[in-house]
């Protein structure tokens, strides 16, 4: 019965509190109370505590204050008979447990004990989840590629079952966190991480399987990560705990799969998670809690059948996942995109400077092609494939459809990378004539043939572009002669496409597109995407949106009739304002696309980089997600991101996609790229030739050398010195405000 759970949750919170208290006292004795403490790469201090209370733990002394908050949530155990109510008390105890666990883990970082290295396998767990990872995942969280999150705690009866469960979660695109341990069917204390390693399953963010640590306490990393989403994407303020818990309940589709026996700490951590709306599904005979209300549906459920446990978990969390799987003999889904195939695991490869290879999408008339047909052209193809090694390969997809337009070819082509990569044991990188593809020994053994590559493309092109394409036919050319010959035709088309796209400006179109995909996480954010300004996540440009609208007219990308311009220079249109008002839940009234100084665009939280004003330099700085160093505005990316995201307008600051920097409309009203006084080396390298071209166009060919990076300055004083020495044009420009 539930009293058992409550008693365990309450009991464990007392123990963890004591542990945290002792560790903290010891740390204070050793390091002094003013010793600074932090998790790596986060702007949210101890995120769970900060989200719930708005109290920033910066030093060991602060930690003591936070621990006292946990003490207030401790309760007496329910009595054997004639007990007093325990649910509220158990939930409080669960939250106290999360506070204590966060303190314990932060202190373990202080002592160099995190992330944990597995003593048996040498595997290094992920440990704390950084803000950068959260923002990197942004777009996947909203576009259906990562619709839910599982925390697997404990160990499966054996490694095979562990793999089956995790593979099912991968196929359903669920991001899986691993923590805790339990006894397997042989009585050995182990965990799912070790079990998966024994089955050689590739672990990591790219494969959607993230081992956090070997203890139950490490589950906190997943929880403190999920509550950060409320601050990063939801725009909810630290301390607004009701908003956070509503956000996690309504928008973060997480659940726990508890494998093996439960101890008190598991129950107590689970009670903490239930506060956030995350239910637990156990594979052992546990007491259940069915009445709903804290979670959306059941709070604790049991399911002994490991074949059903994932599906049951979805039902209990209220999660719907639809996946399209091509008829191939291996698993398929975004979770397999990140797999690598090392040389020794490779069966055959194509392209990658080893053989000629390219990919090309062409538009055909409906009667010119046969739907779903795969044509393989070449001599002795089957034999050559079976021999393994390498082969030339041209993949040409011919599509036909009444709504098909030439502009969509590039978009369909760009998806070819994902089409292949999402298959387990198939690996792909690059596009057009710089592709490189590998097939693993295992997938060859599983029965993958060349024809399957065509089948994958046919199936997925239909699935992704169902209202644009009516027929799809894929041809694979395997003889070098054919490949080289066709490649020339393809290259001519690539060049023509680039030219057309390059000439497209905001002025040449009447319609912009919105991107509302992030509204599942950032409810008031609207991306306005024009030909010269792509989405801030970098994933959606104007053409992508146009195609997406054709595919799904009621979906996340909607046309915005620009209407008459209100301000040409700043980039404001009547139609855009009108659209914003009705689609931002009333949060945003007006928007200027070409300035950051006056009603700039809002940011959801998954922007690729931030442009921020540096007032003393009369210019702006640019820093990309993942940069962990200081910046001249005195904030690291993670802190800066905290002030920019959440769907609010912040004059002087904006989140943008990297490719927007080389657009002519970048800071058009503020003076353009000449305003850039600082940008990271990484950005300089990524933008490369395109940026240099823009410098020439702006009449300052050596601008890139006048822009400081982290090697020249990390504070404003040094920055000014550098700029003055370099003679940066921004110093002579009109004041920004």
């Amino acid at each position: 019965m539930s009293k058992i759970i409550a008693s365990a949750a309450i009991s464990a919170s007392h123990h963890l509190f004591k542990t945290a208290e002792e560790m903290l006292e010891k740390a204070i004795a050793e390091k002094g109370k003013d010793f600074v403490i932090e998790f790596p790469d986060t702007a949210f201090y101890l995120p769970q505590i900060y989200a719930m209370t708005a109290f920033p733990v910066k030093t060991l002394a602060d930690m003591k204050v936070a621990l006292e908050m946990a003490r207030e949530m401790l309760h007496d155990m329910p009595e054997e008979k004639l007990w007093k109510p325990y649910l509220g008390e158990a939930l409080d105890s669960g939250m106290a447990t999360l506070f204590c666990e966060e303190i314990i883990l932060a202190l373990r970082y202080l002592n160099g004990l995190e992330p944990v290295t597995d003593p048996e396998t040498g595997y290094v767990y992920n440990g704390f989840i950084t803000d950068t990872i959260q923002r990197n995942l942004g777009i996947q969280l909203v576009d259906g590629r990562m619709p839910g999150f599982a925390a697997i705690i404990g160990a499966a009866p054996d490694a095979e079952i562990a793999e089956k469960i995790v593979r099912e979660l991968q196929e359903k695109n669920i991001l899986t966190f691993l923590s805790g341990q339990a006894k397997d069917k042989n009585g050995k204390l182990t965990n799912v991480t070790q079990q998966l390693l024994s089955r050689k399953v590739e672990l990591g963010w790219d494969t959607y399987i993230v081992p956090l640590g070997p203890d139950t306490e490490h589950t906190l990393y997943a929880l403190s990560w999920s509550i950060r989403a409320s601050m990063i994407f939801g725009g909810n303020k630290p301390g607004d705990y009701k908003a956070h818990l509503k956000y996690t309940k309504d928008r973060v589709f997480a659940f726990a799969l508890v494998l093996g026996e439960l101890d008190e700490i598991k129950w107590s951590t689970g009670a903490g998670a239930i506060n956030m709306g995350y239910p637990a599904i156990c594979d052992t005979d546990v007491p259940v809690i069915h009445p709903t209300g804290v979670c959306t549906y059941e709070h604790v459920e049991k399911e002994f059948d490991h074949k059903k446990i994932v599906q049951r978990a979805f039902e209990i969390r209220g999660l719907k996942v639809t996946v399209e799987k091509p008829p191939i003999p291996v698993a398929y889904g975004p979770a397999f995109e990140g797999e690598r195939i090392r040389k020794e695991d490779m069966f055959i490869e194509f392209g990658g400077q080893r053989t000629p290879a390219f990919e090309w999408v062409r538009t055909k008339e409906l009667d010119e092609i046969e739907d779903n047909k795969v044509i393989i052209v070449g001599t002795n193809v089957e034999e050559r494939f079976k021999a393994g090694g390498k082969m030339p390969l041209a993949i040409v997809i011919d599509v036909a459809g009444r709504k098909m337009q030439n502009d969509f070819e590039a978009i369909i082509e760009r998806k070819m990378h994902h089409n292949i990569n999402e298959a387990q044991g198939l690996w792909h990188m690059g596009q057009r004539d710089i592709v490189w593809m590998r097939i693993s020994n295992q997938s060859y053994k599983d029965g993958i043939t060349l024809e399957h590559i065509g089948i994958i493309h046919n199936t997925m092109t239909h699935h992704r572009f169902k209202s644009i394409v009516d027929k799809v036919q894929t041809t694979l050319y395997c003889d070098e002669k054919d490949v080289l010959e066709l490649q020339e035709q393809a290259r001519a088309v690539y060049r023509e496409r680039d030219k057309r796209l390059g000439g497209m400006t905001d002025e040449t179109v009447d319609t912009f597109y919105s991107c509302l995909l992030c509204q599942s996480f950032a409810p008031s954010h609207v991306c306005v995407i024009s030909p010269e300004r792509l989405g801030l996540c970098g994933a959606y440009n104007w053409l992508d949106c146009k195609a997406a609208f054709e595919i799904d007219p009621t979906g996340g990308n909607q046309p915005i009739a620009k209407g008459p311009a209100v301000d040409d220079k700043r980039g404001r249109w009547e139609g855009v304002d009108k659209y914003l008002k009705s689609n931002s839940a009333g949060a945003v009234e007006t928007l200027n696309l070409y300035t950051i100084m006056d009603n700039p665009m809002t940011s959801c939280g998954c922007f690729e980089c931030i442009v921020a004003i540096v007032p003393e330099a009369n210019g702006v700085m640019l820093v990309q997600r993942g940069h962990t160093g200081e910046t001249p505005v005195g904030m690291k990316f993670s802190t800066l991101a905290g002030t920019v995201g959440g769907g609010t307008q912040n004059p002087g600051f904006s989140g943008i996609g990297v490719n927007f920097i080389t657009s002519k409309k970048f800071l058009f009203a503020d003076g353009g790229i000449k305003r850039i006084v600082w940008m990271t080396k990484n950005l300089k390298e990524r933008l490369g030739e395109d940026f240099k071209k823009r410098c020439v166009e702006e009449g300052v060919p050596d601008l890139i050398d006048k822009i400081a990076d982290e090697t020249a300055a990390e504070d404003s004083e040094k920055l000014l010195e550098f700029l003055t020495n370099a003679g940066h044009p921004a110093l002579e420009m009109e004041p920004m405000f």
């Binding site: 409550a6 009445p291 995909l517 599942s520």
Partner: protein, 666 residues
């Protein structure tokens, strides 16, 4: 000849039997001897002027009988009803006035023995009243709160403050029918005026004002009283306590506080364990001092301190007959004058303490909030002094029951989600899913005219078997507590399958003790919170909820019944109807009120019919709300699986209760 069962409590029955053998008469005997006057009982007697009393009897009394002034039966029955409402309202509200004045005295530093115990509640109340509280000294806030409440009593125009605490739609109904109280005293005075000879004669018009008076009771007097008691003495949270006559101790001084007001009792709780008092008791040969309660004062200190209760109204004489009570303090309301005379046959000292209430056979030690502890010590010493006088005789009972009490609106929200997720979502969800069929407020007096506490016990067991969650107050609580029903085990062993799951998940008894009879106001705020949470009705009206007072006897019960009816809750009272002679008035109080407010006040003496009527109301409300049809053992939330598109549609409304899926499903 069959023995007449006088009480459904075996302990009580045992004492009654013992009394019979010793020739001691109690209310149970007097109830048998004194048949109710059939004319007065049904509301057909008018004695508002000295041309009468007039009686309205005969076959066609409704149509043909007229008083000397020409009054019809309808007029007279309605007038009698309104006067009962007014008297009940006056009682609660005068109690509330004293609470408000005490709070003011505390804020002004004039009542040193009291303090603001629950600052959080003070701030909550201040927030509701629109009084600034952030950054201000606590006493300044308390003074403003007290003054604002005091104004509610004497206000001539406008609306009493707590009107705005009700759901918007409930307020709209009140305004539409013009029953929003202006000032508490004004409504009572106007009721007395209107029912005076020759003023208001139209039954509906009279009864409409009756509802306005009743609302002044519920959303005025009662609510003010509850809130101030919480502010001064703490908002209750679950606590273990004991009930029945077994709480008296043979070797300790038994001091019983009986009546309704919590102030003096609270000070006695504070004082009784002072070493000086314990020493004093020991000097008189006792091992210590055993403080217990009776009636609603008992409920007040049980809810906050776990002080045991010797039971409700009909136990007061029986308590004295145990011979174990050394002193019994009484203040106001429901004090039987019989105990003064009865106490002479035993050693018990009855001590009257209110300046408003004295009785023959009692000593008077007047309570004064300015020197509260001094008075308390005097009372305790009086009890101790009397300990050596205890005689062997009396019916000693050792049986007692344990209960879990202490459920306030605040705790009920807390227990459903803890500090961070407190809400009414789980309760609303459980009702929607059919785990809980509905909620019943089981309250009111116990009455010697039936097998006392028997109907309470019958309904309590039947309702929980039918998956109905019970909230109880007053002597209804005492009846259920004494019967041992207010335990979490009761849910596991006797509740229906759905209610059992909910009680088990939270760890609660199936009957939640909300406090004294003034604390019926807690039911109003709970219903308001349920409306705000969403998924059921968006006002109090239309909820699958019913009020029942099966053994009512006090005019206060009538006032309570009417304020529930006016707030939108169908109410069923036991016993014969005090307006039963008039079909017209009965129709107004049932059909007409239901049409206007979705509340009603029925009188139904048959317990089985009461139960059926109650379940019918609940099921009908479920049907109107389009909730899943109640079927025992069959329940479950409608499952909606969300894909990404559905998630983008989730409305981004802030919601106090961290609410569930319904708001997101639109």
């Amino acid at each position: 000849m069959d023995k007449t069962i006088k009480s459904a409590s075996t302990s009580a029955e045992e004492i009654i039997e013992w009394g019979k053998q010793h020739d001691i008469e109690t209310c149970f005997d007097r109830a048998l001897k004194m048949k109710p006057c059939p004319i007065g009982e049904s509301g057909a007697c008018c004695k508002v002027c000295h041309m009468g009393p007039c009686r309205f009897t005969g076959k066609n009394a409704e149509e043909e009988a007229r008083g000397v002034c020409g009054a019809t039966l309808g007029t007279v029955a309605a007038r009698n009803m309104v006067r009962m409402i007014a008297a009940g309202t006056a009682a609660h509200s005068d109690h509330a006035r004293d609470m408000a004045l005490t709070l003011l005295a505390v804020a002004n530093g004039e009542a040193k023995d009291f303090k603001i115990t629950d600052v959080k509640k003070l701030y909550r109340v201040a927030g509701i009243l629109g009084i600034e509280f952030e950054g201000r000294p606590v006493n300044d806030v308390a003074r403003d709160v007290a003054t604002t409440f005091v104004e509610d009593f004497g206000r001539q125009k406008g609306e009493i403050n707590y009107t705005k605490r009700a759901p918007q739609k409930t307020q709209e109904r009140w305004r539409k029918w013009n029953i929003v109280p202006r000032g508490i005293d004004r409504e009572v005075v106007e009721a007395m005026h209107r029912t005076n000879i020759g003023v208001d004669h139209e039954p509906d018009h009279l009864l409409t004002h009756g509802l306005r008076v009743a609302l002044a009771d519920g959303w005025g007097g009662c609510m003010i009283s509850t809130d101030i008691s919480d502010i001064l003495f703490g908002t209750p949270s679950p606590i273990k306590a004991e009930a029945s006559f077994g709480i008296f101790k043979e070797d300790e001084v038994n001091l019983i506080v009986h009546g309704h007001e919590p102030t003096l009792a609270e000070v006695i709780v504070d004082t009784v364990n002072e070493p000086e008092m314990i020493e004093y008791a020991k000097s008189k040969g006792a091992k210590g001092i055993n403080l217990g309660g009776m009636c609603c004062t008992a409920n007040e200190i049980l809810m906050r301190h776990g002080i045991p209760t010797a039971g409700g109204f009909t136990n007061q004489e029986l308590g004295i007959m145990t011979g174990l009570i050394d002193a019994m303090t009484v203040d106001v309301q429901c004090i039987m004058p019989a105990i003064g005379e009865l106490s002479k046959k035993f050693h018990t000292k009855v001590i009257t303490t209110s300046e408003k209430a004295k009785m023959q056979g009692a000593v008077h030690i007047e309570y004064d909030e300015h020197r509260a502890k001094e008075v308390a010590r005097e009372i305790i010493k009086t009890a101790c002094d009397n300990f050596p006088n205890r005689k062997a005789e009396g019916s000693h009972i050792t049986l007692k029951s344990t209960l879990i009490g202490g459920f306030s609106e605040e705790y009920i929200a807390y227990m459903q989600g803890g500090k961070w997720r407190a809400s009414f979502r789980p309760l609303n969800d459980a009702i929607m899913a059919g785990r809980i069929r509905g909620v019943v407020g089981l309250a009111g007096c116990d009455n010697p005219r039936v097998a006392s506490t028997g109907i309470h016990k019958y309904l309590a067991t039947e309702l929980i078997k039918n998956d109905v969650l019970i909230v109880s107050t007053g002597c209804g609580s005492a009846a259920c507590a004494t019967a041992g029903y207010m335990t979490p085990e009761m849910a596991l062993e006797n509740a229906g399958p759905g209610l059992r799951e909910v009680c088990e998940a939270i760890g609660i008894p199936p009957i939640l003790h909300l406090g004294a009879c003034v604390d019926n106001s807690r039911i109003l705020t709970i219903a308001t919170a349920m409306a705000a949470e969403g998924g059921l009705s968006d006002e109090i009206a239309g909820m699958p909820a019913v009020g029942i007072a099966p053994e009512w006897m006090s005019e206060k019960a009538i006032a309570i019944g009417c304020y529930f009816a006016a707030s939108g809750v169908p109410v069923i009272f036991g016993g014969e109807s005090p307006v039963g002679a008039s079909k017209e008035v009965t129709k107004i109080m049932t059909e007409v009120w239901f049409e206007r407010f979705m509340g009603a006040l029925h009188f139904e003496p048959d317990p089985e019919k009461m139960l059926q009527m109650c379940l019918d109301y609940i099921d009908k409300a479920r049907e109107n709300l389009k909730l899943r049809k109640y079927e025992p053992g069959k329940f479950g939330a409608e499952r909606v699986l969300m894909d990404m598109a559905a998630r983008r549609e989730i409305k981004n409304t802030a919601h106090a209760g961290v609410g569930g899926i319904n708001e997101s499903q639109g």
